[in-house]
């Protein structure tokens, strides 16, 4: 399938090369060497067996070859016609190949005309000739070896598959669109919408003349109600198109001044094309159709078939104006549909037909007819301007036009006040009218695109500002505690400054925030696909909290993990309808996707009401794979974490969708990349819940600054359970090597950060330090530090690629005193602890006195010490 696409793409390049040669020849058929060269190129076109499966293409190339051959042998009566035809073939074949590469076969009908002309030129009978061609090509096929033809058959089938696939995709996307239509609030115009007019067919007979009847080109009111009014999409679309149109206009104006600069046509063509594409996606049919016509015209210009004339640029500029007006009306319609605009004035008519007629005329190479332009007003949008208060009152029948006139004459103060004083209306009426005025004048939503790098720099700088502010605040507090009076006043000001900086930081952070809605919407599709593929499973996806905002990076990275989890839930979690009925559950399974804030974090939960995880099965598999020891006592949370190990799968049969054990490890990886964590809760028979906890932002982390000897490290507050000064009774050693801490009956390894990171024990007696209990992936460790300094938000900075391989360090930050603090990453710390390279070279047994009889038990119950 891909091969044939590739073949067409390759062919496209070849055809383009031929077109270039043709341009170089400039219609001169006397240049025999060039002709021979050309003939060779055309002959080599069909070299690919896959492409020769398309009869039209084969035939076209045959005719093309014949024409060239005849020209070469001087058998042509009219050289001009022949050279024109050769050019036309290049044109048409290129179009055909292009459309074939996209899986469409739309040019087929047009080709026969060309063949007839070629036959005429060669003095042959078309139908007979066509038979010849076919016979010839059949002979060609037969001449090829059996093997090759078998291969070709395969390729043909592939192509068929491709078409079928494309068709299916189309149907699917239509289905999807209609589904989304249901979601969108349908919008009905108050004014009767004019029926969809037929766009003048480009392929119409050229002898048709364009009539200059003004009445036929009356401006019309367009109907945008078939568009998909999805708030998250429509405004972005309008903004994008408007910025495209600004470019288009600028380039068109430039083109007017330098008509010979063909690259400008490209500059106009491309954005029009993307407007057309996006409009199609959003179902804005009127816009799509109009852009399509404009694009067609520009395409012809681009190919040099239509010269750049004043008529052309004028028409195109008018077309751009129409697109602009359409967009502004679409915005109004969207505002109304989505409720931010209360007015319902009919939209102004747009002279679409008039411009379409121009385009058609240009396409046919006719002169632009003089169409009375009285009715044409490209900037119809201007009419949509704010109505005046007086006009509203008159139209509401509260006052008459004469009364308004009188009041206006007297007006020095606001009109409403005058009218009330004159006793013409009461205050309520004016208030109502004012409300209307405000609603109609409400600025539609707008947005600007900002380079993400600029934004990040801003975030960084604000981070620095916050740090510096904290620094200054600390200094001033010191001053005032020294009894310095002016210091106290300064302190107050600095606190105020602090408030403003914090607010500014929040605002700047929110710039990077986007709602999760688009990500959640994608999941509907995933569930639908899974339930279709997984043999009649019925799955409903219910999502809540789509408006929860997350950092842009988070929303990008979270998508994949969510797809994997949801796929898992729907494919493995949810049972088949029969099974569910037997278990007394509703036939239709439910997957709940929700997002919410929880204490400075964002939690995304995916829960299903399926069969739940089988603890025994997972544990058995984990032991098989050597991930766990048979007699190891693990909590449920620890067992469930195994499902996120690479290559781990308990599925007995691998389905199309999942079961290969690839997927959930990606989840873990991506989420760790976002410094979040995944927890799995499950109840057999009742369902599974994946709970993803993510930091609000990636730029700042809530951390605890700890001191280890002279160094300062930052532990993410998210992983800290508690901290305390260990007593001798709580400490024990294992075989004189590893130290363990018994915290309220729970045993955990004691990791000396000094030893881990500095290679020396700085604090010989743990009871003089502090044990910070940290938790990650269901495992708890105690980190021994000298002291806790303070808790603060720190801006995370990368240490650069140089330190990428260092385990346990997530990055660095600038601390209040200007020094660099290293931010620890718990998963890495645990890993480093198990790594012999970081392990103590000598026993540290002397540090611990108590707990001898503890040893054996400790050893049996805890796992990581004997590893590595």
């Amino acid at each position: 399938m891909n091969q044939s696409i590739e073949a067409f793409n390759k062919m496209e390049v070849d055809v383009d090369r031929i077109a270039t040669s043709l341009v170089e020849m400039d219609g001169n058929l006397e240049d025999k060497a060039a002709l021979v060269d050309l003939l060779e190129q055309v002959e080599s076109l069909m070299g690919d067996s896959q492409t020769s499966e398309i009869p039209v293409l084969t035939e076209a190339v045959e005719w093309w070859k014949k024409l060239l051959m005849a020209s070469l042998l001087d058998q042509i009566k009219d050289a001009d016609v022949a050279s024109g035809l050769i050019n036309d073939f290049s044109e048409k074949v290129s179009l055909l190949v292009r459309s074939l590469a996209r899986g469409v076969d739309e040019e087929e009908a047009d080709m026969s005309g060309l063949f007839r002309r070629a036959a005429d030129c060669l003095g042959e009978d078309y139908s007979e000739a066509s038979g010849n061609v076919q016979r010839e090509s059949e002979e060609d096929v037969q001449r090829e070896s059996e093997e090759e033809s078998a291969e070709k058959e395969g390729a043909g089938n592939d192509l068929e598959d491709l078409f079928q696939d494309l068709e299916k995709d189309e149907i699917e996307s239509q289905e999807k669109a209609s589904q989304e239509d249901e979601d969108a609030i349908s919008f009905e115009e108050d004014t009767p919408a004019q029926p969809e007019e037929e766009i003048p067919s480009v392929a119409a007979d050229a002898s048709d003349s364009v009539t200059a009847d003004a009445s036929e080109y009356e401006p019309e009111v367009l109907d945008y109600s078939d568009a998909m009014f999805e708030e998250s999409l429509i405004y972005d679309f309008i903004d994008e198109c408007e910025s495209h149109l600004d470019d288009i206009e600028a380039n068109l104006l430039a083109l007017e001044n330098e008509p010979e600069n063909v690259s400008l046509v490209d500059e106009v063509f491309r954005p029009i094309h993307s407007i057309k594409g996006s409009a199609g996606f959003l179902g804005v049919k009127v816009l799509q159709d109009f852009a399509h016509e404009t694009e067609n015209l520009l395409d012809e210009v681009r190919k040099g078939r239509i010269p750049v004339t004043t008529a052309l640029t004028t028409t195109t500029i008018e077309a751009a104006d129409i697109l602009k007006t359409m967009l502004s009306q679409l915005r109004t319609t969207a505002n109304r549909t989505l409720g931010s605009d209360a007015s319902n004035d009919p939209l102004s008519p747009i002279p679409v037909k008039r411009v379409l007629a121009f385009i058609e005329a240009l396409m046919k190479g006719l002169e632009i007819p003089e169409i009375p332009s009285g009715t044409s007003e490209p900037s119809a949008a201007k009419k949509d301007k704010e109505p005046k208060l007086g006009e509203i009152l008159v139209s509401d029948g509260v006052i008459s036009q004469e009364e308004l006139g009188e009041a206006l004459d007297k007006q020095e103060r606001p009109l409403g006040q005058v009218l009330v004083e004159e006793g013409l209306v009461n205050e309520d009426k004016v208030a109502d009218a004012l409300k209307k005025q405000n609603a109609s004048g409400k600025q539609p939503r707008g947005a600007i695109k900002v380079d993400i790098e600029k934004l990040d720099n801003l975030v960084n700088l604000v981070g620095e500002l916050v740090i510096t502010q904290t620094l200054v605040q600390g200094r001033s507090a010191m001053e005032s505690s020294n009894g310095n009076e002016s210091g106290e006043a300064l302190g107050k000001d600095i606190v105020l400054l602090g408030k403003i900086t914090k607010e500014m930081q929040d605002q700047v952070m929110s710039l990077r925030m986007v709602p999760l809605r688009p990500v959640f919407q994608k999941m509907n599709r995933v569930v639908r696909d899974v339930s279709k593929k997984a043999g009649g499973k019925k799955v409903d996806l219910v999502s809540t909290g789509e408006d929860t905002e997350v950092d842009k990076t988070v929303s990008e990275i979270i998508s994949d993990p969510l797809v994997h989890i949801i796929r898992n839930s729907a494919d493995h979690g949810i049972e088949l309808p029969d099974e569910r009925r037997a278990a007394g559950k509703d036939e239709t399974g439910k997957v709940q996707l929700s997002a919410y804030h929880e204490g400075g974090n964002i939690v995304i939960e995916i829960s299903d009401d399926g069969r739940g995880l089988n603890r025994e099965k997972i544990l058995k598999k984990a032991i098989e794979r050597g991930l766990a020891e048979p007699d190891e006592k693990l909590t449920d949370a620890q067992v469930y974490q195994f499902v996120m190990t690479p290559g781990f799968s308990t599925a007995e049969k691998i389905t199309d969708i999942s079961g290969r054990g690839v997927g959930l490890d990606v989840v873990k990886k991506n989420i760790e990349q976002l410094r979040g964590k995944v927890e799995i809760h499950s109840k057999e028979g009742q369902g599974t819940t994946f709970s993803i906890k993510l930091p609000l932002t990636l730029a700042i982390i809530d951390g605890m600054v700890v001191r280890v000897d002279e160094d300062k490290y930052i532990l993410p507050t998210l992983s800290i359970v508690r901290s305390f000064r260990p007593s001798n009774e709580e400490l024990s050693t294992v075989h004189g090597r590893g130290e363990m801490l018994n915290v309220r009956g729970e045993l955990m390894p004691l990791v000396r950060l000094s030893q881990l990171y500095k290679g020396e024990v700085t604090l010989s007696d743990p009871t003089e330090g502090l044990a910070v209990i940290v938790e990650n992936e269901g495992r708890t460790y105690a980190l021994l530090v000298d002291e806790l300094l303070n808790q603060q938000q720190v801006v995370i900075k990368s240490l650069g690629s140089v330190f990428e391989g260092v385990k346990g360090i997530a990055g660095g930050t600038i601390l209040g005193d200007g020094s660099v603090g290293l931010i620890l990453d718990m998963a890495g710390v645990f890993e480093a602890y198990k790594d012999p390279k970081y392990r103590p070279s000598e026993p540290v047994a002397d540090a611990v006195a108590a707990g001898e009889d503890f040893d054996t038990m400790t050893f049996e119950e805890n796992q990581p010490l004997e590893e590595g």
């Binding site: 391989g805 260092v806 660095g812 600038i814 603090g821």
Partner: protein
Amino acid sequence: MNTENAVSEEAMVQLGGKYLTFQLSGEGYGIEILKVREIFGMQQITSVPGVPEYVKGVINLRGRIIPVIDLRLKFSFNEAEYDKETCIIVVSIEDVLVGIIVDTVSEVVDIPGDDIEQSPSFGAETPTEYLLGMGKVKERVIILLNVEQVFSEQEMKSIEAASN
């Protein structure tokens, strides 16, 4: 042979320009001035675990965290105590800033291309790819460093490898 020499001589001439010179273990070294971002005295360095010895750690350069490398250790010289003469030269290598610790910074000299010679070969064991050439300044010889090579990607990778 002759042509080869001619080519390399031409390359040497192109090396002419301004160099920042500094002392390291009694020898004079030079770095192309365009690569140098700034110079400051010794400051507090935060050490990073699990990296080769010559990577001393990281420092805060006005809000940016950059690695600092002790050139003495990098070149396998004896380690020296840092004093008030010790300087950190911040160089920019392909937009990445790296601080290098040197004994003392001397001056900026203009070395004409004619005064730069190809570095002699010291036998296979001594790597010469770090060197651009030898510059003659007033009877002294300045070793011109190719900082890109000193901190080439491969070198940086080796830091990573060592830390793994």
